[in-house]
Assembly symmetry: C2
Homo-oligomer: 441 residues x 2
Amino acid sequence: MTILFTNALVVTMDDDLTVHERGWVQVDGSVITALGGGPAPDIAGAEILDCDDDIVMPGMVNAHCHMAMSLFRGLGEDVDDRLYRYILPLERTFVSPEMVRAGSALSALEMIQGGVTTVADMYYFETEVGDVCAEAGLRAIVGQTLADFSPPDHRSFDEGFARVEDLMDRFAGHPLVTPSIAPHAPYSTGLQTMARIAEWSEAHPNVPVQIHLAESTLEVKWAQETHSKSSVAVTQESGLLKPNLICAHCLQLDDDDILMMSVEQVCVVTNPRSNGKAGRGISPVEKLRNAGLPRGIGSDGAMSGNTLDLFSQFAPVSMFAKLLAGSRKPLPAVEVIQMATIEGARALSLNLKTGSLEPGKQADLIRVSTKSSRMQPMYDPYSALVFAAMPTDVTHTMVAGRWLMRNRQVQTLEPARIMSDANQIARQFKGEMARLDSLVP
Amino acid sequence: MTILFTNALVVTMDDDLTVHERGWVQVDGSVITALGGGPAPDIAGAEILDCDDDIVMPGMVNAHCHMAMSLFRGLGEDVDDRLYRYILPLERTFVSPEMVRAGSALSALEMIQGGVTTVADMYYFETEVGDVCAEAGLRAIVGQTLADFSPPDHRSFDEGFARVEDLMDRFAGHPLVTPSIAPHAPYSTGLQTMARIAEWSEAHPNVPVQIHLAESTLEVKWAQETHSKSSVAVTQESGLLKPNLICAHCLQLDDDDILMMSVEQVCVVTNPRSNGKAGRGISPVEKLRNAGLPRGIGSDGAMSGNTLDLFSQFAPVSMFAKLLAGSRKPLPAVEVIQMATIEGARALSLNLKTGSLEPGKQADLIRVSTKSSRMQPMYDPYSALVFAAMPTDVTHTMVAGRWLMRNRQVQTLEPARIMSDANQIARQFKGEMARLDSLVP
């Protein structure tokens, strides 16, 4: 079955940054087979999608997320100690396979609606997240989190590690879902556990490893006090600093850290909304690029970043780079779109499959309407995408040739049921929050 | 004629921050006459708008804009010298009453669609902007810009001032449009011209004065080199620092400047996206609040900030305050919504008319859908509005009891014609840009 996108402003994000005005993209099965400018080829029986000058571009890569946490979105937003007052007690009481499934489904829905086609996730009961992504049709890296603080789904390393093995078994050879192992962070996982994971990872170099790294000044302090070195150096000592390591956040880095990360060829993911909202700082994305590190953009969990599309991250990531430099020049719009697509895919080692529109690649693509008043006039599609487009402008989402959304209608999920389930769980949270508040003297 | 909004999450933004879950708002003619929680009163012949648990709140106040400049949106985004290379030559060639009308209409359309009901504008041929706002039904302060650099619509102070007098005559007593005088900025208007405006303003204390102030380090340098004082101090020396002065940007302020502004009780407008995108810096909005200065939020022109709704400004203004403090606490979501509504109205001296839902106030209000997956679950409406809502969630916009948009259908403007006119002018710009590029050796 052939699908032809015609009359599109095709933004390929290939190495030459080819853009076809009034171009076309041909999809056969799960794969992009051809694309170009001018009139589309005449293919008998092909399904034609006349894009009416809308943008067709690679689906976006949300390179760091905790999908289940959409259920905590905006909870206790302005309460200073919300983590200890609400979130950790709620996680202890409520995190279950069912809760993870409900929250992940809500996130999958939002991402499909907002033009995300690939997501890297880390949380608990991660097989549930994998199942949700597989059903939703999203490309995903799903990372079972391991930590030493007795998280909701394991009391010991062995118990946690058994979950990793389950995940590996369940998604072995899956076309969309890649299992991953996720030491939570140096301060919460500890050198010993990190070293055990690194040893296992050495034997499984194609399994992505995800970690929160250099996120806060508290982490810097912990690393100095307990190991007399930086958090990045602790991670290196554990053996985890390898090309399959995906490092989320990366705010508190000195030049030695960046050099170390560059030598070991790790990948990084910036989460500008989450970091900005927490007042934690600004990731030096320009320095990281100059060090040759592929940089993805992540939403983080909705508890921290609130929305899971990447459009919401574009102005922040761009403004932060410009403010850091005191100039309008750094991180031009085209580079932001690279980070959201091909460079993000590279950060997840998925760039041979996705992240650009090129023959032979998986058909992961979106159509973005150019019709709103916000998008007029359009002198440059990258600028329009970064500074004027909204997730609601995405009209069509396709992964591996499968329609996940057509004309704003999600094809693979039941929005009403998912939102109703999420709100039912939220009502339980509200009840527990009232109880927790009543305990405060 | 009575209009009743029923079954609404009424976010009043009154002094007590009253919120009515499943509440109602009654509008008679141009005025809010009653509101409350629980079932709406039974009023014979009333038009009922069942809001199905959506948010009803005050329309937003875009407290600094250059509406005509939407025609330059995203033009030369990543070109370092775009101002001198493109914008100023284009303004010299193309700014005319017709161009101002076309750009202002595009901006009026976008603002109505994005929930803005009041705008403070400054540009050239400002009677055109006033006419567009009056026709669109927007509440507006329209400021004729005066500057010493021979701007497109005047070659001398007297010529520019004649335009101010025209504007005053045209909108004397207008229910929606308030004329204003707008010295461009200290460095571009000069002390002498500012002093002449201040003298005139002394005799017209109810006419708002708008100025760009403390926007860049270049301005700081100019003020020190030419007047051996800060730009705020130069403005004070001119006599302009008065309660009717609306100061846009306010980035480069020291504590003495803030004290001076506090003593003179001026008003300030922060433009976070515009300032962030230019890498110019962060306005100290917390310090300005502590100094008792009312703070509005502005989009700036679309050339600088790209979008004209306020939702686009919420995450930036919030993140900037938190990053400046290195903490999650500053500028909680409720305060952002205050700045976008009642505090913004206060900054424009319109707070007796608009900015909150209270009996006797003008019926300037919007309905914001709570139905998208992004908005689930909703623990707090302020958090949801600041960090998850999009301008496309606004379904209805009303000013002074008149529908400007119903069910996303703009009532007072012709979107297709406006966008077509804008794109026709943009094509002329593109032609001229190609010519300008060809002049570069």
